[in-house]
Amino acid sequence: MRGYVPGCEVKVPVTLAEALDVLAAEPGGWRPMAGGTDLMVLFNAGRMPAGRFLDLSRIEELRGIWEDETTLRFGALTTFSEMRDCPSVHRHLPNLVKSARATGALAIQNRGTLGGNIANASPAADTPPSLLAYGAELELVSLRGRRTVAYDAFHQGYKQMDLAVDELVAGIRVPKPQGLGFHFYRKVGTRQAQAISKLCLAAYARIEGGLIAEFRVGLGSLAPAPVRARRAEAMILGKPLTALQVTAAREALMADICPIDDIRSTVHYRRVVTANVFQQMLEELAHA
């Protein structure tokens, strides 16, 4: 235990308004804490100074999964296990179920939250690629008000987010895929469970009249933040299923990513395997 425990203060608001008050009164003074599965690791390892924490875990307004005709809405505190256990998520957003299942192991899934996975802004997080592929939106709140941002505009660089210091992620809205959909998710981790991603690719396509009417690819561990593969998407969107330009799209994908060498993998491996997984996805799509 390398964190200085006696130096830490914690506030435990039970309403969102209370929490936002604290953040507004001392912007940047209190660090939000949800499931703690990222924060506590840093803190225990002495990689985060002692400080002041705002425990969000008792705020009921941030919990729960809601559903209407067009959208699934997740409170920021929704855990991976809750996503895994929810039949609607299985039905509409299978990639999100796969990401939740692929995250850590059960004890982490019981505790880690979707809001935390997003706001931790790790390039290696496993739900963001799925959220990007599904075209999710985030609800951000502060005393100044509530706003909605497209998730693909939220991450702006390594640990850079469109999130003000007095703001919280309140919820995540994901449009329900309509019509004939194709869902693909593959995480390549350091092992089969309890693993951090070396790379991760999620894709969603809507097929209409034999054409790719909608197509998004979300990528993890391949750029300073979770990103969409916009160039590769453009090569596929609108094309007939029977004439997907696999090689060209693969090449375009290489321009979408900028992986690094780190202790988990290499640039070269990430590039080659991303291209392979992408191709595998397109082959499955072609047969969808």
Binding site: R2, G46, I263
Partner: protein, 745 residues
């Protein structure tokens, strides 16, 4: 009692959560200890400064200057200091420099970070090649801690006439033990008028190693240094030599503060600072005749010992002796060196050098088989050792040995022939998953190498207790392998009484004699045999004293022990190891009987490689071995399964990443050991062939399972993917990709 699946003695306490590990014990007025380490791999320690904002007066602070005895860890060579002194050399980046203790563990950590070391950095040697190149001379004799040659016949005379000469170079990386309980020690020092009394309890494998180290550190006699093993949460060799340092550090803090001190490493510190398996590099040159008979073997075997000599000389010996494997070869040269680098010292790890050299040989044979156009199993079959053959050291195989039978059993179990045939068909299609099967055949020498056991002259005993039960007295430690259970089985068999009447004394230097360290697959075969002999002697004593007559019931036995105890007080019978007359070994020439006997294994792995991601899954694993008589089949299988898991981990994932001489992936999240979903059900079987040296015919088996998996897995990969240069472990997906690209040009 021998041969039955007796239930683990201490198992109940373990499943109840009541077993007491080091960190579970506490004292009043306890201080927590911490270690300040160098962060540069090589340099001169100029000064130690204490930063601002810490109430230093509240701290117990120990530097090299405080050490009452000799500031050197007593090992084979005394080259490693407990603490680097000001003006002294720093030889690796995790070298201990200063110790701190305080009752508040949170403040302690703050203080640890506030110590500033002024170091004049010197150029460091960080790998085997730079050490051999001698750009800097950093230790040993011109960077060599140990060099040895094993010579039989003359390979040079063969090259010219051989039909095939095949060469290869193989590498293995460092491996972290990753016992789930990190290292830790608790120390108490009672200040006496003349001499202090030092007591250390902890997580450890070898109480008498630590006792010796602390006697030297404090300048105290043996009876003033007491070492007690607590329940130990895994060791695998990782708690063999490094605990001497930790125990010394805890004891120094306790000695200076006059209070009990607990020094527990957290995972990051344990991984960064404590020992690892020696990285290795092996070059093989082999000659075969037309038919595939092995004519000559020339092996150059090098281990990276790290910064200090520690156990490297004996790890090197074992590695070198195993390098020629289970094959007959009249012309064998083995040249072995352990070299110095400025990395934390490498140490003992299950297998002790043999997994490294056996990986090279067993991998090389599959490369050879491909070049010779033979099936790997058939190439091996042509060359197996048989009774009457001599090994590289000149040791003659005297026991019944049927390696072909062992191999056939394994081949049949895994379905080798059918699988190789059917996989070849599927692998030729564009199916992205490629499958293969591979095998390895190997041996592991039981007990210490060469004259090791003779020098150790271990002792074990049996004591009669007041209540009529008996206690086994041995310094062998229970580290999860089941030693307590096996020893009680051995004693109860010899005494012909139920196991409940046998207790196994805690490994406490005040209570048990020096039975040597718990290493080298020696506990069951060597110490177990001493226990067996002591038990016979104890029974004889009871008979001679007139308390017991054969045949007897357990009740009569118990009564006899009670009466003997009432009459004579404690009765203890000890036996000591004596070298069997037929065993000869020469430490200078490396000729003779390297081990009293060997255990033998043939393992087979079936793998599936995903050519999209280069991930490898071991889908089936068969581990068949001949280990003499199996004393407890359930515990024995558990040892094999765990060893195989470690071997598969080493083969595929377990990579220590170094930067500037420091391990940088020293967290569990970044050092990848297998989880339950990464492994197949490991299938284990034993072929029994009782051996006269061991108790009830048993041989050693703790290390054997580490030797076979890595070559079997990589050989299976070769079968799946064709002839790639798969010459390194761990074969991570990143490396496999590179190998496949090299093969494609």
């Amino acid at each position: 009692m021998i041969g039955i699946p007796a239930i683990r003695k201490e198992g109940r306490a373990k499943v109840l959560g009541r077993a007491r590990y080091t960190d579970d014990k506490t004292f009043r007025c306890l201080l927590y200890g911490a270690t300040v380490r160098s962060t540069v791999p090589r340099g001169i320690l100029k000064a130690i400064r204490f930063g601002e904002g810490i109430p230093w007066k509240e701290f117990t602070i120990v530097t090299a200057q405080d050490i009452p005895g000799e500031n050197r860890v007593a090992a084979i060579v005394k080259d490693q200091p407990f603490l680097v002194e000001v003006g002294g050399m720093i030889n690796h980046a995790e070298e201990p420099v200063l110790l701190l203790a305080h009752p508040d563990r949170y403040l302690l950590e703050k203080a640890r970070r506030a110590v500033i070391l002024e170091v004049e950095e010197l150029p460091a040697i960080l790998d085997i090649q730079s050490s051999l190149d001698r750009a800097q001379i950093i230790g040993g004799n011109e960077n060599i801690f140990k060099e040895l040659r094993i010579e039989k016949g003359d390979p040079a005379s063969v090259w010219a006439r051989a039909a095939h000469i095949i060469e290869g170079a193989y590498r293995t990386g460092a491996q972290e033990h990753l016992y789930i309980e990190p290292n830790g020690m608790l120390a108490i020092v009672a200040h006496g008028d003349h001499e202090d009394q030092v007591t250390v309890c902890g997580s450890l494998q070898c109480p008498y190693y630590i006792q010796k180290a602390l006697m030297n550190l404090f300048g105290l006699p043996a009876d003033k240094v007491r070492i007690v093993q607590m329940e130990t949460g895994g060791a695998f060799g990782g708690k063999e030599d490094y605990p001497s340092l930790i125990a010394g550090h805890a004891a120094l803090l306790a000695w200076k503060s006059g209070k009990p001190v607990k020094l527990i490493y957290d995972r990051e510190e344990d991984m960064a600072a404590t020992t690892k398996r020696h990285p290795s590099r092996t070059r093989m040159k082999t000659a075969f005749d037309e038919a595939g008979h092995l004519l000559a073997l020339d092996i150059d075997f090098i281990l990276d010992a790290g910064a200090y000599a520690t156990l490297s000389s004996v790890v090197l010996s074992r590695g070198a002796i195993h390098a020629a494997g289970v094959y007959r070869c009249s012309n064998t040269h083995i040249h072995a060196r352990a070299v110095a680098t400025n990395t934390p010292p490498s140490g003992a790890f299950r297998g002790f050098g043999a997994p490294q050299s056996l990986f090279a040989l067993e991998r090389h044979l599959d490369v050879c088989a491909a070049q010779l156009g033979l099936d790997p199993a058939e190439l091996r079959r042509k060359n197996f050792l048989k009774i009457g053959d001599t090994m590289a050291t000149g040791q003659v195989i005297q026991e019944k040995l049927d390696l072909a039978g062992l191999m056939d059993r394994t081949l049949q179990e895994i379905g080798y022939t059918e699988k190789r045939r059917s996989f070849a068909v599927i692998n030729a299609t564009d199916e992205p998953i490629k499958r293969g099967v591979g095998i390895s055949v190997f041996m592991h020498g039981c007990g210490f190498t060469g004259s090791g056991e003779t020098y150790l002259a271990s002792v074990a005993g049996i004591e009669g207790l007041a209540d009529g039960r008996v206690a086994v007295l041995a310094a062998s430690t229970e580290i999860g392998q089941g030693k307590d259970t096996v020893f009680s089985q051995i004693a109860s068999e010899a005494l012909n009484i139920p196991m409940e009447l046998v207790e196994v004394a805690q490994a406490d230097t005040k209570v048990v004699p020096d039975s040597g360290p718990t290493v080298a697959s020696r506990s069951t075969m060597v110490v177990g045999r001493l226990v067996e002999d002591a038990a016979y002697a104890f029974k004889q004593a009871l008979i001679q004293q007139g308390f017991l007559e054969e045949p007897y019931t357990p009740e009569l036995f118990r009564e006899a022990v009670r009466r003997s105890h009432a009459r004579f007080g404690t009765v203890k019978c000890y036996t000591q190891y004596h070298k069997p007359p037929h065993i000869e070994w020469d430490d200078q020439t490396y000729r003779g009987d390297a081990y009293p006997t060997f255990s033998w294994g043939c393992y087979a792995a079936e793998v599936a490689v995903d050519t999209v991601t280069f991930e490898v899954k071991v889908e089936d694993f068969v581990a068949i071995q001949e280990v003499g008589r199996v004393i407890n089949p359930v515990l024995a299988a558990g040892q094999i399964e765990g060893g195989v898991a470690q071997g598969i981990g080493w083969a595929l994932w377990e990579s220590v990443e170094w930067k500037g001489g420091r391990m940088v992936n020293n967290q569990m999240t970044n050092y990848i050991i297998p989880t339950s979903v990464d492994l197949p059900r490991i299938r284990v079987a034993f072929l029994e062939n009782p051996h006269p040296a061991g108790p009830g015919g048993a041989k050693g088996l703790g290390e054997l399972p580490m030797d076979g998996p890595a070559p079997a897995v990589l050989n299976a990969l070769q079968n799946a993917l064709g002839n790639l240069r798969l010459d390194e472990v761990p074969m991570t997906p990143e490396r496999l990709l590179e190998c496949m690209e090299v093969a494609c040009g």
